[in-house]
Symmetry: C2
Subunit: 341 residues, 2 copies
């Protein structure tokens, strides 16, 4: 049985969901894939769980609050990724800290450090990819590393792998989609219940679909980050967040939605990448158009040269969906590295 | 640059489209993937193009009618796959003959022969997989071969690769979908234009969406074959075509469709695999349900344990779509084998 050592950075929703999923799937991994994932480090901002020999006992820690970390034998306070990431021995790093869209730190540094140390990387963090995609890919190439980030885009939709593995023979010309579940939920509410933006936003917050500070969602920054990642990895762009013409949904009124409806249209927050141009903006979409989906769902349309449109849709990301994408990426790496040895 | 030798069996619509695609993509393959596909053999039922050294000049033959094959230097009349498949040297076989749903021959024998000779195989032929899936997978495992068949299911939708590569961490519980573009076209016509089955079928034939003998489509055999392949490869079933409870669309009347519509339903020809049971039958689907798609489109819903439904849709297969899927499969194999050497 092949064993892979894993370091996790960030033990929030996604990190904990990943730990739970690893516990749940360990039997399956052993039996069906003949492999074991040993988590040797989990870094938080004030310390880390570390157990290089036996691996961390995940069951012991997945449900405890941060205030109880100190009760765990493997917890090392003040043991920080900044100081120890380089010296620790592991095969794969899962960077799961919160997206920082201003300068992508500290994730950007962690990912560079790992890649430069010949570690394969998976991430659910949009920041580094939305801001420094070309730089990161250069290191990936130089170091012959695998870097996967399915969890960053399109929620549960396995779009990057679909593209990477399956459309090898086909050229994608353009991408369009609804890449943010929160704004789609708000617009759906406004349309069906004829309520103003502020009230729909409030409901989204009450249901946990929108953050206390919803600005990344409603101004389109989150969708724009995903669009940059999709366009760079699928269309070969070398863009960053600043290249996206971005318009939020905060100015949409129930009256505008009603006027659109009278003409057979709905208003959707649509991301498009075509002919080198990137845009996230409210658009008039004909009712029953492929993009006319409701609720928190995400949808991506790949316009291909040889095969028309390929459409893929699924739930927007929550913790468990993101963790499932992260684990898929990890197992993809394991499969490749296993064959090499 | 790594060179892979390819043998193609069947030079009909898919075979010719594949040859055209290989010509079109050769520059891309060389530059971006550092590989060359050399087609050393193309078998037809009455002879073969053979050029083991330089490879067949595809440009010379892609558009000529069978009656002109004898004008080509590489054409060897009466050189048949049955006699020569074993002795010929090549890396990958593309089995693209017409599906024979009775006994899957001659494709079944060709594929077994190739696998047993340590050749990797791709196919667009549903017969062998719908009838002998477990047997073939046993040889694949014993011989450590790669066997891909994306073109067999769901038209342009890259469903198998999506599953194989990306949902590693996620369990699919059930599959449902519309797997045949012809019946969906006919039902769509019947619904929108309130015309009887026979007339809609005739229009489908006039538009080239239905064969002169449409029985495989309208009785659900084609959809059932695809369902078997999906269920076996994604849900781990070991089923064959006989296990599918199969009902055609030939008994559907405009009156039934109208009655359904009055209650807010449409009639769709739906394939389902759940709890070990396989079925293809006309079903009442609520209007605006995910499966309520029109025209020749295919759609597949994967119900997952961790991530809700993942939906993927695209055009039903034509020659170029199938060829695109076949080439993707071929390049997948090249990528894997390249890394091994």
């Amino acid at each position: 049985m092949k064993e892979f050592k894993l370091a996790i950075i960030g033990f929030g929703t996604v990190g904990r969901s990943l730990a739970k999923l690893i516990i749940k799937k360990s039997e399956y991994l052993r039996k069906k894939m003949d492999l074991k994932l040993k988590v040797v480090a989990i870094f938080e901002c004030n310390g880390a769980f570390i157990n290089e020999n036996e691996g961390i006992n995940l069951k012991q820690i997945v449900d405890i609050p941060p205030s109880d970390f100190t009760k765990i034998k493997d917890w090392k306070p003040d043991y920080l990724a900044d100081d120890h990431l380089k010296s620790l021995g592991f095969d794969i790093m899962a960077e799961l800290t919160k997206t920082n869209i201003k300068n992508a730190e500290p994730a950007y540094t962690y990912i560079k450090t790992a890649l430069n140390n010949n570690i394969d990387v998976v991430t659910s963090n949009k920041g580094p990819l939305a801001l420094y995609y070309p730089e990161l890919m250069k290191i990936v190439k130089e170091k012959n590393r695998i870097f996967r980030f399915e969890a960053c885009v399109g929620g549960v939709i396995p779009i990057l792998g679909t593209y990477n593995n399956l459309l090898l023979a086909n050229k994608v010309i353009a991408i369009s989609g609804i890449l943010n579940g929160t704004t789609n939920y708000i617009l759906t509410k406004m349309t069906l219940e004829k309520i103003p933006f502020e009230i729909a936003l409030k409901e989204a917050q009450e249901h946990g679909y929108a953050e206390a500070d919803p600005s990344l969602d409603i101004y389109g920054i989150d969708a724009a980050s995903k669009l940059v990642i999709l366009a760079n990895s699928i269309l070969g762009y070398e863009s960053s967040l600043n290249d996206v013409k971005c318009q939020g949904i905060d100015k949409i009124t129930p009256e505008a939605i009603e006027l659109a409806r009278e003409d057979g249209y709905v208003i959707k927050h649509v991301a498009t990448a075509i002919s080198g141009k990137l845009e996230v903006a409210p658009k008039l979409i004909p009712e029953d158009h492929t993009l006319d989906i409701n609720g928190t769902k995400n949808i991506i349309i790949l316009e291909t040269e040889e095969a028309g449109d390929i459409v893929i849709s699924g739930r927007g990301a929550g913790g468990i969906e993101a963790a499932s994408a992260v684990l898929s990426d990890i197992l993809y790496i394991c499969n490749i590295r296993k064959k090499e040895n």
